[in-house]
Symmetry: none
Subunit: 397 residues, 2 copies
């Protein structure tokens, strides 16, 4: 891909409707996408290639990390990203490839050293910010700089700056109240992992000293240790000047992993499309992330998911007016309301450009199953987008 | 898969209708499965995911070994299993990973040292058993134990116990009468292969001495050398307590390779389903193997193959009454009556669970070609079954 890609004037839009794939609630019924009234997507389908994408592996329900890495064209089995890394990037921290990141939960220790609340009574964001400042001012580690950035409420991120770290570390969160926090343990015997475990344990010890008087937020739990996976950037891989429009930190973090610029999103779905319009001239690739579909699916709310899809549908004419060279409308995984969770099922994919082989007159799982893209790995979507945007040279003589 | 799999209460059934895939006898005609009257499978299809599986590689017709290894989720190109190993496991021999196995055919040597009958006049099983006993009592090798187990008529299995063997050996069977048996030759230069070849040649020499007076069964031909491929078991790979119901030794051997328990099968197709019912509580995975479809296909008997499929169809309601969490109905390869042989064609796959995206109202090659699973590698079926049975954790954050 890196060898074949060329810069052109045309622009690519990857519209990710999170958890788009669905299932009928009952045999014989429609899926969320099929039930939604989507005149604009249906009209687009008559001019588009359709297919069902398979994220990660057969039967495997992906988290958002591997789901998006696949959409961005990376092998999600090869590049595994710790949640701490996504959080650090998501809050805008300029994580370097040698840094170690972990998520922090403020929590409550009782008098006997056991966790009595894993979320410190869900302290408000103002309190969380204050505690983060307290830690940044008072917590010093020997020979290693550490930065703590507040995320939201009781959640924050710690980034250890330096060299010779490993993210192969266990969490301290015992996952249940009434238990003592666990010590961080290395997953392997490398000196890097042992050093990093010592460092993390020392961090917890010193945080406990600093927070001693801050009940209910008198300790921290560390989770999701990880290091930057050192992905090739979109610039390197595709020669694309890529930008992301996403309203949640995790998706911003994923976009930053791929070297995308983060655009300030507007309010709600319409606001994100408005941002796209305003930034149209500045980039040649846009990742636009829509969250409410996934949230509705997780809640088991079929109708709310369908309504969110309809809200996206209403933005399609404005998007097409911008004149993208290639557009994909898809999801990072299925989140069927029937299952109230991410699932392994095929995700509808629509690829539009002037060079398509349309097979149906509507967008939905069933038309996609019989489409000209077939059932195919999600990692291939970026290749199709690059091809449809005429950004790939011929391979071979 | 090993990292994501979890134990749950739900049960998985893999119903393998051997050689299920077929072809129309004439253009415009139906396949065996499409021609068969299968009201129960058709009703199930309206509540199931459909697809066509591709065994091994494009255009490649698999033997039963690779066909089944793929269905069990193993890479059939990576794990190649000698026929001797399947025979040894099939007759219930507790083959260890360091043992060497080979198939034996009793045969006839004429006065000039040439093979005059490669099957020793198809001696009856009683005679075969008697000769195996004679060999076991009288054939001694230097420093290595060997066990011979009778299979059927003129066929037996030899297992060499010990260490430092290799299965990379040529057969002694010249494949034609009127030729002398071939010496066993190593396929590579390893000391293991050379040692094993010497051992096998010494075995033939000593067998000839023991059998000298046993015309027409006065020699043995050795074929299909191999060692246990050391597959991860179903317990290791999937945390499944798996059992097999199969009426032929080879399929029992394949199931044992994967660490499955062998259940005593009842008489015929109905008997196998009866065994399933009686053993339902004892296991959480069942491999049920149906042979007559493949045999009819090999005979070129389209109607008999369709009738065998109908016989399976009649058992579906009883199977569904057991309440499997996930069920696959498929084959290990196609055996089109038109070709009278195994073939490379797509094999219909039906996966049923509460979480499906049905696309058709009948089970057949054509509906499967447009199904929501697409055309996909047979190795992925186990992933789908694990997913549908809710036995896989989410992958990644």
């Amino acid at each position: 891909m890196r060898e074949l890609s060329v810069e052109t004037e045309s622009k690519i839009v990857l519209l990710v409707v999170d958890g788009l794939g669905g299932l009928p609630m009952e045999p014989g019924g429609a899926t969320e996408l099929e039930a939604a009234n989507t005149p604009n997507l249906d009209a687009l389908a008559t001019r588009s290639d359709l297919g069902l994408s398979r994220p990660v592996a057969a039967g495997v329900s992906p988290g958002s990390g591997p789901g998006h890495l696949g959409l961005f064209g990376y092998d999600p089995l090869r590049f595994q990203v710790g949640r701490g890394v996504l959080s650090a990037l998501g809050v805008g921290f300029d994580l370097q490839k040698s840094d170690l990141a972990a998520r922090i939960n403020f929590a409550t220790l009782d008098g006997s050293g056991k966790i009595s609340d894993r979320r410190a009574g869900r302290i408000p964001s103002e309190k969380g910010e204050e505690l983060v400042q307290l830690l940044n001012e008072n917590l010093k580690l020997d020979g290693v700089e550490v930065s703590i950035v507040h995320e939201k409420e009781y959640r924050a991120v710690a980034v250890f700056w330096g060299e010779g770290f490993s993210g192969e570390l266990s969490d301290t969160d015992p996952q249940r109240v009434g238990l003592a926090p666990l010590p961080v343990q290395p997953h392997d015997d490398s000196p890097e992992a042992r050093k990093s475990a010592d460092l993390a344990n020392s961090f917890v010890e010193k945080a406990n000293e600093v927070l001693a008087d801050q009940h209910p937020a008198n300790t921290v739990l560390l989770r999701g240790f990880g290091m930057h996976p050192a992905l090739p950037s979109f610039e390197e891989a595709y020669k694309l000047n890529a930008a992301a429009i996403a309203s949640y930190p995790m998706y911003k973090g994923l976009a930053r992993l791929a070297g995308m610029a983060l655009l300030k999103e507007g309010e709600g779905i319409a606001g994100e499309f408005e941002t796209l319009k305003q930034s149209w001239d500045a980039h040649d690739f846009f990742f636009l992330h829509i969250k409410p579909t996934d949230a509705a699916g997780e809640d088991g709310d079929f109708d709310r998911k369908a309504a969110a899809i309809e809200e996206v549908d209403a933005q399609i004419p404005g998007l097409m007016d911008l004149g993208p060279g290639a557009l994909a409308v898809t999801g990072d995984h299925a989140t069927p309301a029937k299952m109230k969770s991410h699932s392994w099922h095929g995700v509808p994919v629509l690829v539009n450009s002037p060079y398509t082989l349309p097979t149906a007159d509507r967008f939905g799982e069933r038309p996609c199953a019989g489409g000209s893209l077939g059932v195919f790995p999600a990692e291939e979507i970026m290749g199709y987008l690059m091809g449809h945007a005429l950004k790939l040279n011929r391979f071979g003589a």
